[in-house]
Symmetry: C2
Amino acid sequence: MADLNTISSQPQPAGHSPPPREPIWDLIELLFFAYRDFVSDADDALATLGFGRAHHRVLHFVNRNPGVKVADLLEILRITKQSLGRVLKPLVDEGYVVQREGSTDRRQRLLYITQAGAALAMMLARLQTDRISGALAQLGPDAHATARTFLVAMLDADGRADVLRIVERARSGGVSRP
Amino acid sequence: MADLNTISSQPQPAGHSPPPREPIWDLIELLFFAYRDFVSDADDALATLGFGRAHHRVLHFVNRNPGVKVADLLEILRITKQSLGRVLKPLVDEGYVVQREGSTDRRQRLLYITQAGAALAMMLARLQTDRISGALAQLGPDAHATARTFLVAMLDADGRADVLRIVERARSGGVSRP
DNA sequence: GTATTTAGGTCAGCCATATTGACATATTTT
DNA sequence: AAAATATGTCAATATGGCTGACCTAAATAC
């Protein structure tokens, strides 16, 4: 597998700002195909429950950020209140997410995952993790760090700090369970 | 950056089928955010022309596979004839793609990029390539090969050969120009 | 203590991109 | 001549976005 790789990026004449090189066609296409396959695992599992990709995203970030405010979720997902409402409602109605009044600010409807929601989110994360760890296994010893470095560098420079805060925050596990 | 990485995949007790490890939350989330930012470059550029992501995909694969058959494009993109028709028509009408009768099989409408189409496809590929090469620069010496290995390993095992054929085929540059 | 702002919800309508099923036409194959 | 193939198209539907408008309840400002 590793032998059909060094294709594009002909050696650049050193010391120049690189002249209009050839586009990196293979990675452009592979990003498309790989991402499509990556999300298809969860898509298929969710379809059997009548949910879609949008529900998955909400479920995921509520699971990773218990007690998240609606406004924060809108910012993370970069969607509108209306779009969130349409996918959040079924998740609440079917018992995957609950909303609780904020204790200091009672206008807020903080979002928490239920046990059923956590189980579903974990099942979907399993599918994605299996694929990712299979791919990491094809890389060297620092596979996880390398993949992370690459993906972080692919982010918009602007929003990079925000995204890293989200990815980090999710580790500490925001607020308590309801 | 490299020091907050080794989170998941605790050393497995050897000889077991791995017990339910923790999901790789950071890479799951980074794939979402990175892909969103990755496609946003082209999305924004296309929006000014009244095109969307679907048009981009058609434009890209016609550009990379001149003379491609409609049926092949449907297979590559995994969409239906109807969906293709809706995005292909504007591309033809506005002079980015042309259709020519197949020379051996006159039922076929082989798809070719025009000069304007090639220029647009190249401009979009530039945007994506700039982002990718910026990210590769954060990696070690075998950055391109490493990224490719990772992405190929992320593909469905089933379709992997097909995808690799597509990615390879695009290099040789299918048929002639119209 | 009223006025304004904020957090969230909701209604109505629109757009882009996908789907299915049915059918039509031209051409090739059997 | 009949059947299969390549492509196109009509109609209807689903999903997941969007905007604009408007509502309630609660917090904050004056």
